[in-house]
Amino acid sequence: MTRPVDRFLFRSKDASLRRKLILSVELNCFAGIVIASAALFAHQVYSLRGQFAAEMTALARMVATYAVAPVSFGDSKGTTEVLGGLQVRPEITAAVLRNPEGKALALYGASASEMSAAAPMEPGFRQWDFTVVQPLELHGEKLATLQVFASFRPVFFDALKNFVPAMALALVVSFAGVAFLTRISAKVLLGGLDRLGASVARVASTADYSVRAPEAGRDEVGSLTAAFNHMLGELQAADASLRSTNASLAGEILERKRLEKALVASSRRAGMAEVATGVLHNVGNVLNSLNVSVHLVRDRLESSELKNLQKAVDLMRPHIDNPGPFFANDPKGPLVLKFVAELSVQLENERVAFLEEVQALARSVEHIKEVVSTQQNYAHTAGVIENLDGRELLEDAIRINQVSLERHGVTIEAAPLQPLPLSTDRHQVLQILVNLISNGIHALDSEPAGHRRLRISAARNTESVRFDVEDHGVGIAADNLTRIFQPGFTTRRDGHGFGLHSGAIAARTIGGSLQAHSEGLGRGARFTLIVPLSPTRLTRNQACQPTASLP
C-alpha cells in the first residue's frame, strides 16, 4: 500500500525511474541535512549550556574572590560594587551574598524581599534558570556564600536567532548542491540504462534483432546490457532458425494439403469399398437364407402330391362323359373319390407351407433391400425407429442363418423367450444378430460334428434388451479382444474383417453397445449386444441383467 507521501511525491508507479531516483536522493539528503542541522543545533545548545554554566561559574568565582576583601572589611559599598561587576553578563538576573547565617550582605538585580532565604541554594540548571553557589573563603575560612542567578533563555534565543538563518542558508545551498549533483549522478548512473532502454525500444518497434545496446561497463547496468545483447544474439539466431523453419514448414503445409486431398479421395474410395463390403456381407447372409427357402420350395415341389392328382385324373378321364356308372359300378370309383379327398388335404398343407416359404422369401428379399438401402445411407441417415419384439428379431436372425446352421451341423440352444418389446432400428439389430450367429457358426467349425452348439439368449430390464450369442468354439486370444472390432481384422481364412466392425458401429448408432468376452483360445466366446428400449434410454456400454438364458 503506497503511503500518501509516496503518492504525492511520485504520483504513481508510472513516474520515471530518473524522477523517482532524483526525488528519493534529494529527499534523503534534505532529511539528512535537516536532521544533521537539528543535531548540530542540539549539540550547540548543549555546548552553549555547558559553556554558559562554566562562564557563570567562573564569573561567580571571580566576583566571590573580589568580594572576599570587602566582606572581610565589612565594606558593604565595596561588596555591592563588586557584585555590580556581574552586569557584564546581561543573562545574570540576580545575585546575593549571604553570611553563614543566611543573612543577605549584598544584592544584585533584586530586592531583599525577592532574595529571601527561600531562594534556591542548589547549583545547576532548572529549566531556563541556572544557579551558581560560590563560597567566599579566606585562608580556609568561609566568610560568606555568593548565589548568582542567570537565565539561559536569552543565550538560547540568541543562538537560535543566529542559527536559523545560517541553517536556512546552509539548507538552500546544500539542497541546490544536492540537486545539481543528483542530476549529474543520475545522468552518469542512468546513462547506460537510458541507452539500454533506447535499444530495447528500437528492438520492440522494428523487431530488428541485429541492434546492440552500447557497452556500459561492468556494473549492474553493464551486466544487464551484456545480457540483453547476448539475448538479442540468441534471439537473432532463433529468429533466423525460425524463419528457416517457417519456410520449410510452409512447404510442408503445402505438401500436407496435397496429401490431405489425396487422403480424402483415398478415404472416400475406402469408405465406398467398406460400404460395398458391408452390403455384400449382409446380403450374402440373407442370400443364404433365401437359398434355403428356394431349395425347400424346390424339394417340396419335387415331392408334391400334385402328380398323384394326375393319376387320379387319368383314371377318371374315360368316364368324363358318363361318370355315374364309374362311381356307381366300378370298384375304383369310390377309391378315386377317397384319394381325391385325401389329396386335397395334402395339397392344402403344401399350399400353406409354400405360402410360408414364399413369405420368408419375401422377407429375405425385403431385408436385402433394407440392407442395401441402409448401407447406402450408412453414415448419413438414421434408421427408422419401430416398435418391435426382440424375440422376433432373434428368430429372424436364426432363420436367416438356418441354411448355414444346417450345413455346418450347428444346433441352436435357446430357452423359450418372453416378448421383448423395444423401439429401435430393426435392420441394424437384425444385421448385428445375423452377423453374430454367422460368426458363432464358423467358430464352431473346429468342434466335432454333432457337438456344435450355439447358445442364444435375450433378456430385458427397465432400460435395455440384452442379446447374448455364445459358442464353445475357437475362442479369442486376449491380445485380439481389443482388435476384433477394428475394420479388416479377422482370424478366419475366408473372412474379410468387416462384420464385427460394422456391427459395433451399428450398435453405437442405435445407442447401444457390442461387447466380446472370451477366456482365451479354444475356450469359446460370448458376444453381448445391448439395445436400449428406446434410442435415448441407454448410453453405450451400459450392462443389463439377463432374464432368460440357456441352461
Binding site: T65, A69, S72, F73, G74, S76, K142, L143
Partner: protein
C-alpha cells in the same frame, strides 16, 4: 566557624558610624585593631621573615591606653595561620628589632619618612593615622570618609619594604603616591 563569626562581629562593630569617633576613643582603636587584623590577612611577608606558623608581631607606637585597647582586641587571634602578637615599641627599639606590622598612633611624634630611615628596607607594614600618612611615605594610612573609616595605600612604600599587598586589599583602598 566561631572565628568567622568573631570576625563578622568585629566587622559589624567596625562599621558603626564614626561621627562621634572622638567621643569614644576606645571604640575607634578597637575598630582600627580589626583593620590591622585584616591587613595581616591581605599582606604577604617574605617567607624568611615570616615562616609558616610563626607569630606575626604587631608593634604599637602609641599611648598605653590605646595599646591596651588594641591588645585586647587582637588577643588570641591568628591571621592566615600566624598567631598575632602585639608589642609596645619605641622609636629607639625599632632600629634594632622591627615587628611585622607597626601601628603609629597620631601622638607619636615621628614622621613617616623618619620611620623609613629607621626601618630601612626591612619588611615592616607601617600603618599610621595622621593626615597624609600614606602619601608621606607610610604604607597604609587611615582616613575618614564621611562616617566611614577607610584607608589609603602607598604601593611604592609597601614595595620598598618587600611586602606583597593583595589586589583585593588594594581594591578597597585609596591608592596614593609619595609626595
Amino acid at each position: 566557624m566561631a572565628f568567622a563569626r568573631k570576625i563578622l562581629l568585629g566587622i559589624l562593630l567596625l562599621f558603626i558610624p564614626m561621627a562621634a569617633q572622638a567621643a569614644d576613643s576606645s571604640l575607634e582603636y578597637r575598630v582600627k585593631a580589626g583593620f590591622l587584623f585584616h591587613f595581616a590577612m591581605f599582606v604577604e611577608w617574605p617567607a624568611t621573615i615570616l615562616p609558616p606558623g610563626a607569630p606575626l608581631r604587631i608593634g604599637l607606637l602609641a599611648p598605653p591606653e590605646v595599646c591596651s585597647d588594641i591588645e585586647q582586641s587582637l588577643a588570641g587571634k591568628s591571621a592566615a595561620g600566624h598567631p598575632l602578637v602585639t608589642e609596645r615599641v619605641t622609636t629607639e627599639a625599632l632600629a634594632k628589632d622591627a615587628p611585622h606590622i607597626l601601628f603609629v598612633q597620631r601622638s607619636a611624634d615621628i614622621s613617616p619618612s623618619a620611620l623609613a630611615q629607621i626601618l630601612g628596607d626591612r619588611p615592616v607594614l607601617v600603618v599610621g593615622e595622621t593626615s597624609g600618612f600614606a602619601s608621606s611615605g607610610g604604607a597604609i594610612g587611615f582616613v575618614i570618609r564621611g562616617d566611614t573609616l577607610r584607608f589609603q595605600v602607598n604601593l611604592a612604600a609597601a614595595s620598598h619594604a618587600n611586602l606583597q599587598l593583595s589586589g583585593q586589599l588594594a581594591s578597597l583602598a585609596e591608592i596614593v603616591k609619595a609626595r
